[in-house]
Symmetry: C2
Subunit: 368 residues, 2 copies
């Protein structure tokens, strides 16, 4: 990769495939279908691979639904926190299922899409999230319908329900307990449905996850209520597949060594700034050399973190930030006009393909 200037996102299809194979195992063992959550990852240059293992896509807007339809194919689930009337008309051309967020959205728009496979998001009042910002059952949540009587009333309009209530949930017992609660609370309603989406935020592709226990719970839930279960993996589909490859452009010292790389936390891995979390470094390997790694924007807090590395960083050193696939490329921005990472893919056969580079014209066109 000497020819490709940093920074770039490098998506490794072999690593992606490891996640996809686990998702396929869940499908086979539990009957649960999986649709890719485009809000987390919509880098369509690897959809040819992902399509072989997934049942389609789920979306949060008209544009995402269209992207799923055009570039992924298979099932297109179209959800939005708020569809406009025009959105609903347009999305009906692409979507297999249209999932509304509220009773008022359903009432406003269902006539427009009569006879279609419609769903409604439920706020079950339970959730799993380490972050209030991402907690769909937080106080004043606008996500989904909490009123069970009202749900029963509109059930004849619906073929399915969406329960999206997890964020980075690594605990299988938590999801099993939630399924029990949902079954107990919504059982009558579930029996009237054809499908139930359990949303995303389930970290079931991580190493050591008790997949059998997970699959058993899904299968039992599906059988008990006679529904097709859907999962919406986003991070679970792409975890550990992608690195942000950067080069050190300066090393300064202020109490400790600070290596400035040619990327930015805010512009290229935004969630770590928003949630005040720290990414991992994939290379150099861990070791005794303490260094703070920081971005090249003018933001004082554009800091990736403090790390112990096997070698000291110098101008020209390569630094690879790990796990740069989910919720990164979908929210890059042009802050400071710093160079936007290219997008490259290591295909299954080992060849590396540069699928997108960005230049000054892209920056200029982002404004006016």
């Amino acid at each position: 990769m000497k020819d490709l200037p940093t920074p770039y996102y490098l998506i490794d299809e072999s690593r992606l495939q490891q996640n996809l194979e686990l998702i396929q195992r869940v499908r086979e063992a539990s009957g649960a279908k999986s649709v890719l959550a485009l809000k987390c990852f919509s880098t369509w240059c690897v959809f040819d691979l992902m399509r072989q293992y997934l049942d389609g896509t789920t979306s949060s807007s008209l544009f995402e639904a269209r992207l799923g339809y055009e570039e992924f194919g298979k099932e297109v689930h179209a959800y939005s926190v708020g569809f406009s009337r025009d959105d609903v008309k347009a999305v009906a051309a692409f979507a297999d299922k249209i999932i509304f967020n509220s009773l008022s959205q359903l009432r406003q728009h269902h006539a427009e899409v009569e006879g279609r496979n419609l769903g409604l998001r439920v706020n079950p009042g339970i959730s799993y999230s380490h972050f209030d910002l991402a907690d769909p059952a937080r106080r004043y949540s606008r996500l989904g319908v909490a009123d069970k009587d009202a749900l029963a009333e509109v059930a004849p309009l619906l073929k399915g329900l969406m329960f999206h209530f997890n964020c980075e949930n690594t605990e299988v017992e938590s999801i099993c307990a939630s399924l029990d609660t949902i079954g107990r609370e919504y059982g009558d309603l579930l029996r009237r449905m054809e499908w139930v989406s359990l949303g995303g935020g389930l970290s079931f592709t991580q190493t050591g996850y008790p997949l059998e226990r997970f699959c058993t719970a899904l299968r039992e839930f599906s059988r008990t209520f006679d529904v097709q279960v859907y999962l919406e993996p986003g991070e679970a589909a792409v975890t550990r597949s992608t690195e942000l490859v950067t080069t050190v452009i300066d090393v300064v010292h202020n109490e400790l060594d600070i290596a400035i790389i040619d990327a930015s936390l805010e512009a290229h891995m935004l969630d770590h700034l928003v949630y005040r979390t720290t990414p991992s470094v994939a290379a150099p390997a861990a070791g005794p050399h303490r260094v703070m790694i920081a971005g090249r924007t003018c933001l004082a807090g554009d800091v990736f973190g403090e790390f112990g590395l096997a070698e000291p960083l110098r101008v020209g050193s390569e630094v690879r930030i790990a796990d740069a696939g989910g919720y990164t490329m979908v929210k890059t921005n042009w802050f400071n006009g710093v160079a936007m990472p290219s997008i490259a893919v290591r295909r299954l056969d080992g060849t590396i393909e540069v699928v997108r580079t960005f230049g000054y014209d892209d920056f200029k066109r982002s404004l006016s």
Copy 2:
């Protein structure tokens, strides 16, 4: 504006001009030149107006410097936290002044730009910021050179120094005290320079700001050390000039009324999410009707805030978010694929011009 679909940013040139006239007054009364901080605002469709009142632009990357050169003209100050060698070569074609962030950057690159007007950023160890994230003198800061002996050593290579140490500083006494400190600590060095930039983050265009006191302090500083002073207004240049115009697409109730608008805090006014602050609503006016205003992405925390408004919000109501000019359009992103606000300008003669709309192809091209 019935023809322009929401959401859109509406930049009002008359309001912009009010700020620009204050900046010009400061120039006349203090001798301090002002260069627009493109990191805050780089929507070049209003540069024809801004150019008449400002001395040029300052930038944080090669792309911003080029934009300043191509679209603004006049003086181009090129700063970067980290220039690569290629950046330095390229930026030399545009820049009147090149400002390095560190001794190592200066040492690495000065031979490449010999004879040019070079500056160096100083970390004076003092700062004014309500946010640690944006505090350039925070612990482990990588922004600027703190070592005074080293500064004296490289002074022969330099024509100027940049002190950027404020963020949203509304207190004139604070800036006066800082100027005294800087004069006392760096006086000898300052006398060897032609220019000194005091950076941005000074809220001197806000209503009631004691401009005379400010100008006197700047003029005295400039005379004492015989330097041309530069200011780098960003927010001060565009404050109160721009609204984000949106439409309510749904109203739901969960303890309180929640109006969902066709925009997003994360995608379109990112800093409020990062800093956990709340924007103001420009319209409807303030009043007794309590409502939470939230965005249309799937993020639970995509919430603009709770407001009391003169009228209840209904589907179709227009909501204008105030002060949407600074640090907004420069960091929009395509999270959830929600529609990107267009950019419109109310020109001085009152006509409204739509200068940029974004569509599905822009979304798709942001990925690959």
